[in-house]
């Protein structure tokens, strides 16, 4: 079988990606799994949820994150590029004054932070933001 140069380079890149990027590839599947476990595969709207995260975080050990989804009953935070995608889930009770919560999280490196809100009517909303991290927070 003959192979074009383009195919050869492509295979080489795929092998390199599999070799160096394995945790990330494994994690993409894990992210989808975590999202599916929360939403049951439902469609997600992009509005009605605000995720506030720094564009550049100097220290990946403590990255301030704020999420606000008016009317939501639960909000899940995910970090796509961490060894484990789940970060935390906020479940709001009847005495909650708003659907806003903020916390500080760890990020292993530059990656996308995902927030998904579950509304009382069973619909879902999501927001994503990319965060660049100067010093990773997983102490590899």
């Amino acid at each position: 079988m003959t192979q074009t140069r383009r195919q050869f380079v492509g295979t080489g890149l795929a092998v390199a990606a599999a070799f160096f990027g394995l945790p990330h590839i494994a994690n993409a599947a894990q992210l989808e799994e975590a999202i599916a476990a929360f939403t049951g595969g439902a469609d997600m709207a992009g509005d009605g949820i605000t995720l506030i995260a720094p564009e550049i975080a100097e220290n990946g050990n403590t990255v301030p994150i704020e999420v606000d989804a008016p009317g939501a009953e639960a909000i899940m935070l995910l970090a796509a590029g961490n060894p484990q995608a789940d970060v935390c889930t906020f479940n709001f009770g009847p005495a909650a004054g708003s659907r806003l919560a903020s916390t500080r999280i760890r990020l292993a490196g530059e990656q996308e932070v995902v927030a998904i809100a579950r509304m009382p009517d069973g619909s879902f909303k999501q927001a994503r933001q990319n965060v660049r991290v100067t010093i990773g927070g997983c102490g590899g």
Binding site: F90, N91, G93, A101, R106, G139, G140
Partner: protein
């Protein structure tokens, strides 16, 4: 095993009825993620706070499920609606089975 775990909460001293007050909580805890390796090259076992709840007069304000990606000394800020004078009860659940509690009073005019 986590040592010197100290919960700290900040709630306004008084509020008007029906007001949404901002609640800030922090607990000193190493939140060992289970990803790090010690000087002997072995993985340090996971030891985190896995759940945090806040109730006001027995009514749930927020219940947070926590994974290792939450930073050392987990900090949470959220809002609570207060309709009457009462007490906030905060509870943190550790992986090792320990439960840490803290409370704060608020006077509603």
């Amino acid at each position: 095993m986590a040592e010197n775990v100290v919960p700290r909460v900040r709630v306004p001293r008084d509020a008007s009825a029906g007001e949404a007050v901002s609640v800030r909580t922090l607990i000193s805890h190493p939140m060992e993620s289970g990803q790090r390796r010690g000087s002997d090259g072995n993985t340090i076992p996971r030891s985190i706070i896995n759940r945090f709840t806040c109730e006001f007069n027995g009514e749930l304000v927020i219940d947070v499920t926590i994974e290792p990606a939450v930073s050392t000394n987990p900090y949470f800020q959220f809002d609570a609606t207060v309709n009457e004078t009462g007490t906030f009860a905060f509870t943190w659940y550790d992986d090792d089975g320990s439960v840490y509690t803290e409370s704060a009073d608020i006077t509603v005019a």
